[in-house]
């Protein structure tokens, strides 16, 4: 049976087969841990072409996992979660919601979604929040992933699709810049396209404060100071202009705003850029020349430049560079964002974002409201307005902030949010916390109700991958007794909240048809996509406005999505990060990922093979800094920020700048890297600054516990 991986936005095609009772030769894995299915990469799926990573390969272990929850749980008088029937659990949730709404108003209710949810779920959750809860407060963890790139692309191009071209175009470009992206670890099967590019003689440039596995294979590795991506990108744009490398004809024909940008960048001072970024002028020039000389060139950004308080401006500066050099909209060229979460793309298109309605419509636009109200059969007046963004929403939990009930779907916010201790305190102050998931996690530790759900292989739904390709993740087996799908839960709760008529079906294909109708004519138009078409075409790229439309693999070749068809160059002024090292906290701290784990680790920390490979987060430190601090490989290091402290085990490595510490954020509790991070937000995208804050560190004597 064909389906897709439950993890990242690459959405590898997989072949899943029920396993023979005694499969030989799998000694590497605990047979108990992988009882039901064999997972193989799908050779035919054109994105991963027979490759996967260890996360997807072991994903079947989640299905029949010992720790999986299949019975609803309610917080009992003793404070423990105790098993309950579905009716009891749903009644409890509905009664509490109604009571809170009666007493404090609908604004006291909130829903929190996820980039892991299918399009159908994201759509229905947005509708549920607005119509069943009646609250403006819905947002999702995609805020923590792609929001800066989305904001940047919308401003520059008038449209945000992570990559405006299929991933196969990577192999056809001549120079590929991966800026703050580490696919060799986070998306290993993507590297086959990079390998193919390099076999053709193309060049790879990696921009990253760490020499990652991706940087190791690069022709040029640029290692900037954390938080200086914007300055570096602006510096490259300034060099492109001063070196006479601007594609004048392209800029004149396809963009606006050049003159203001040119004048602004005249004030860029190369020595200053060099001093702040730590990237030599020679290297800056090399990058500009490589990109300008290349017939085809591509800049792809990852979370590095995006997860900053100036993330959306940094994306704009990268787009400026691509536009100045005349690359966007040309074959195998341009700018793209490597979306992270499985459905980070679709999740941000269908209305689970505080300011949006399905199809990338805006909740504050009267026409968009009217259109959606018509599809939903309600009066536009009854649609709430714009709600709070993810971190602001979580920060408003509890009596102080006024949000008293939170329903969480597919997200482990206690681990994934910056300044994690603060969020844990806020979660604990809720009158009602409902978590809908397959495993208990750090967030559900605060839940009053836990609703067990079907997992990836147990329900069908569409995902929109990093290319903007809508794919169908098919069910490969029924859900175990006791688990329900998110769609069923939403419909059942809506009925109890008196909105049942607006939620007539929990059947994915029916919901998808409604989603299609809701997006007809919108920027992210899915109205011509059907399950059958996805099966026939190995996915369909949006926009796809009619049943006979084949979909749109490549965007912008003729025009951009602004009314005048032109892209916008933006003046983006550099500024310091929210927190930079000082005498008290003299080091940079940055966060990222391991190959073996995914996001908050809620799933991957359940998989034996993954935990065996990477049992804990280790703080990466340069030998020179380690020597100064007296830290040793395998020893312990106490890392402190203004918000909290974490004792990490140490990994000494020359692959990181000597002024920077790195730790992955996949763990919760005392090992949570996000205890340290700063909750400064990008003013446009509301993305938190996960990638840079100031810390101090001291080696702990052996034998001191965390």
């Amino acid at each position: 049976m064909k389906t897709h991986c439950p993890y990242c936005a690459f959405q590898c095609g997989m072949r899943v087969t029920a396993r023979a009772p005694e499969a030989p030769g799998d000694a590497a894995f605990d047979p108990k841990a992988q009882p039901a299915f064999d997972v193989r990469a799908d050779e035919d799926f054109p994105v991963n072409r027979g490759q996967m990573c260890i996360k997807g390969f072991t994903s079947a272990q989640l299905l029949d996992h010992d720790a999986r929850v299949t019975t609803p749980r309610l917080r009992g008088r003793t404070g423990q979660l105790v098993e309950a029937s579905w009716d009891a659990a749903l009644d409890f949730v509905a009664e509490r919601v109604l009571a809170i709404r009666a007493r404090h108003g609908a604004d006291a209710l909130a829903a929190f979604g996820s980039g892991a949810l299918t399009n159908e779920k994201a759509y229905l959750l947005g509708k549920f929040a607005r119509l069943a809860l009646g609250t403006p407060n819905i947002d999702y963890n995609g805020r923590y992933c792609m929001s800066s790139a989305a904001a940047g692309q919308n401003k520059a191009f008038g449209l945000d699709r992570g990559m405006p071209f299929p991933v196969e175009d990577l192999a056809r470009t001549d120079v590929l810049v991966l800026w703050g992206a580490n696919p060799a670890d986070t998306m290993p099967p993507m590297m086959q396209w990079v390998d193919q590019l390099r076999e053709r003689g193309g060049k790879l440039v990696v921009v990253d404060p760490r020499r990652t596995e991706t940087a190791r294979v690069a022709d040029l590795h640029v290692q900037p100071t954390p938080g200086t991506d914007l300055m570096l990108a602006n510096g490259l744009c300034a060099l492109a202009i001063s070196e006479g490398r601007v594609d004048d004809a392209y800029v004149a024909a396809r963009t606006t705003g050049f003159e203001a940008l040119r004048r602004h960048l005249l004030g860029t001072h190369g020595a200053h850029v060099e001093r702040q970024t730590g990237v030599s002028l020679d290297q800056q020039l090399t990058v500009v020349r490589m990109l300008a000389d290349a017939e085809r060139a591509m800049i792809l950004s990852g979370r590095g430049p995006e997860q900053q308080s100036k993330g959306s401006d940094t994306v704009l500066a990268l787009i400026n560079l691509a536009l100045l050099l005349g690359k966007v909209g040309k074959p195998a060229s341009g700018y793209g964002c490597i979306t992270g979460q499985g459905n980070g793309q679709g999740g941000r298109e269908h209305g689970q974002k505080a300011d949006q309605l399905p199809g990338y419509r805006l909740i504050e636009n009267a026409d968009d409201r009217a259109t959606i109200a018509r599809v939903w059969g309600v009066d536009p007046q009854t649609l709430p307005g714009k709600g709070k963004s993810a971190y602001e929403l979580l920060d408003a939990l509890g009596p102080e902030g006024g949000v008293r009930a939170l329903l969480v779907f597919g997200s482990n916010v206690a681990v994934a949010s910056p300044n994690a201790r603060n969020i844990e305190r806020k979660l604990a102050a809720l009158d009602l916390c409902v978590v809908s998931d397959a495993f208990e996690n750090e967030t559900s530790a605060h839940a009053h109700a836990f609703l067990p759900i079907a997992q990836w292989g147990e329900e069908t739904g569409t995902m929109t991958n990093l290319e903007g390709r809508v794919i169908l993740r098919e069910r490969v087996r029924p859900a175990p007794a006791g688990a329900r799908t998110d769609l069923e839960i939403l419909c059942a709760l809506a009925a109890r909240l008196g909105a049942g008529a607006l939620f007539p079906s929990s059947e994915p294909e029916v919901v998808f048809a409604e989603l299609g109708a809701a997006t007809a004519g919108a920027r992210a138009d899915y109205s011509g996509i059907t399950y059958d078409k996805i099966r026939r075409q190995q996915g369909v790229f949006w926009p796809c406005p009619s049943v006979d439309h084949p979909g749109t693999p490549r965007l912008f070749s003729e025009r951009f999505a602004h009314a005048d068809g032109k892209a916008r160059l933006h003046v983006v002024r550099d500024r310091p990060s929210a927190e930079t090292p000082d005498e008290e906290y003299p080091l940079y701290f940055t966060t990222g990922r391991y190959r073996e784990h995914y996001n908050s680790g809620a799933q991957t920390r359940q998989v034996r093979a993954l935990v065996d490979a990477k049992p804990e987060p280790r703080v990466q430190i340069h030998p020179r800094l380690a020597a100064t601090l007296g830290a040793e490989d395998g020893g312990r290091l106490m890392v402190e920020s203004r918000r909290g402290s974490v004792a990490f085990n140490v990994a000494v490595s020359p692959d990181i700048r000597a002024d920077t510490l790195f730790a992955p954020f996949h763990w919760g509790g005392k090992q949570a890297a996000n205890i340290l991070t700063v909750p400064a937000l990008d003013p446009v995208s509301r993305m938190p600054e996960f990638k840079v804050c100031a810390v101090r560190a001291r080696a702990l004597p052996l034998g001191v516990a965390a």
């Binding site: 590497a28 086959q192 020595a271 060099e274 093979a609 030998p623 020359p654």
Partner: protein, 493 residues
């Protein structure tokens, strides 16, 4: 409460940055801002003047044109000089007889070129002789362009940064250029003798002539009677020749005086502000007189004046914080200097001290005579206190960060010069290639050595690549790299 009136005197680079910093802090909501600039143009980047000298339109270096000011509601009075501030009545007096109230004034009058007392440099009335130029403004560059002709000759007095920049531009324009420099080496303010000599070689390599250790004694103009022997007194005509202090006389169609600058303090003096070398300011960039601030090259802070742009930028950020209340406690503590030049085609980076100052200072010098490259580090107690890089500036970026932060130098300072050379502690062959089955590179290579000739064969022997499959490309690469050479075709069965 109405908006307060903020007046900025001067429209140079410090003002340009200050305006950006003010706007970024929303100052236009709090202040009506008026900028007085003596020059007719908008704000421009003086560092790029050589582009104008080389023939580009002045507008290419204008950073803020009239539209920029208009869009932000900031008033630009260009071509108007401020003569003084009446600091008790809080009035700005201008050269056109105007008087305008202010609440807060910022003086950013920058520097002016030094014109040395050379006989014949000026004519009656004190103006520069025709053909004699300074190099400071767009107007200076346009005047030079007007005068310079390919094949004619120019003497540049001053082998510092500006002089060499002007010399290069004129030389590129086809002029015969001689740089006359009083010190024994070029750019002696930034470079030590070794570096200066390298630079001189390079400058000569570009087709210019360098005369060190001498200066111009007198400048001679042409006149009705051109017979110097009969009438050695300089005339009022255009430059014809110069006499050096060693007695030699050189013909010259133009002379560029690039002998340095000094803070421009005329307005401050006329306004009764305390002035030493520059206008004296404290850590908040305030002068002693309430309501009056100063920044940039005209300001003297803790006894220092600065002649490069970076300190002015740092001061602009502090002053904007103070004036807008965005950071009322922001204070300027002085700047560490980092100079980065491309002069006569040579990349130069210098920071901190040029030579060891204490007996305990340590120096590392690397000289590559044939490559014309020179790198020098000065260390004090394991920290970098100075560096000079000529011809090879690859390490400049990482060195300046070590210098700025006072971080510990690597045990071996050579490491600091090679930022991209990283030695891994994990031997390559211990690296895990297949992480599904935990097979190392060494394991894969051993399999290849023992005869595995395909990815499948390696998988059979080691299980590498039999999991998720994402390491198959890596296995192919290792096969290519480690496979024994194929026997000749004929030998294959």
């Amino acid at each position: 409460m109405g908006k307060r009136r903020l007046v900025i005197v001067g429209n140079g680079m410090a003002t340009c940055r200050l305006l950006d910093e003010l706007v970024a802090r929303g100052a236009t909501a709090r202040y009506d801002i008026t900028v007085y600039g003596e020059e007719p143009s908008g704000t421009y980047n003086r560092i790029l003047l050589s582009r104008v000298l080389a023939g580009e339109a002045p507008d290419v270096i204008v950073t803020k044109d009239a539209a920029w000011f208009a869009e932000r509601g900031i008033t630009l009075c260009s071509g108007v000089a401020v003569t003084r501030l009446d600091t008790t009545r809080k009035v700005v007096e201008t050269s056109d007889g105007g008087a305008h109230r202010y609440d807060t004034a910022v003086i950013a009058t920058g520097s002016q070129p030094l014109v040395p007392a050379i006989e014949g440099a000026t004519v009656a009335g004190g103006a520069l002789r025709r053909g004699v130029f300074v190099y400071r403004t767009i107007a200076d560059c346009l005047a030079m362009r007007e005068h310079a002709r390919p094949g004619s000759s120019a003497i540049v007095l001053g082998g510092g940064l500006l002089g060499l920049e002007a010399a290069k531009a004129l030389s590129d324009g086809g002029l015969h250029v001689t740089v006359v420099h009083a010190s024994a080496t070029l750019m002696n303010a930034q470079l030590d003798p070794m570096a200066g000599e390298m630079l001189a070689r390079q400058v000569e390599g570009f087709g210019m002539f360098v005369k060190l250790g001498c200066t111009i004694e007198s400048i001679h103009g042409d006149g009705p009677d051109n017979d110097v022997a009969l009438d050695p007194a300089p005339r009022d005509g255009a430059v014809e020749s110069v006499t050096l202090d060693d007695g030699k006389r050189l013909p010259a169609d133009m002379v560029v005086l690039a002998c340095g600058v000094r803070p421009r303090v005329d307005v401050a003096k006329a306004s009764g502000l305390p002035v030493n070398k520059g206008i004296i300011v404290n850590d908040a960039l305030a002068t002693e007189v309430p309501g009056v601030y100063a920044l940039g090259e005209c300001a003297e802070h803790r006894g220092r004046t600065y002649g490069i742009v970076a300190p002015a930028w740092e001061q602009a950020a502090v002053l904007a914080d103070v004036l807008t209340g965005a950071g009322p406690q922001a204070r300027y503590k002085g700047s560490k200097l980092y100079v980065r030049l491309k002069v006569a085609g040579v990349d130069v980076a210098t920071m901190g001290t040029m030579d060891p100052e204490l007996e305990t200072d340590d120096v590392l010098e690397i000289v590559e005579q044939r490559r014309n490259a020179y790198r020098k580090l000065i260390m004090r107690e394991g920290r970098l206190v100075g560096a000079m890089l000529v011809g090879n500036t690859a390490a400049a970026a990482s060195l300046v960060q070590l210098f700025d932060r006072g971080d510990a130098m690597p045990a071996d300072p050579l490491e600091a010069l090679c930022p991209t050379m990283v030695a891994g502690p994990v031997a390559a062959d211990e690296r895990v290639v297949c992480n599904c089955n935990k097979v190392t590179e060494a394991g894969v290579c051993a399999a290849i050595d023992s005869g595995c000739a395909s990815v499948e064969a390696i998988g059979g022997a080691t299980r590498a690549g039999t999991g998720c499959g994402s390491c198959k490309n890596e296995l192919t690469r290792l096969l290519k790299r480690h496979a024994p050479p194929r026997p000749p075709l004929a030998a294959v069965g």
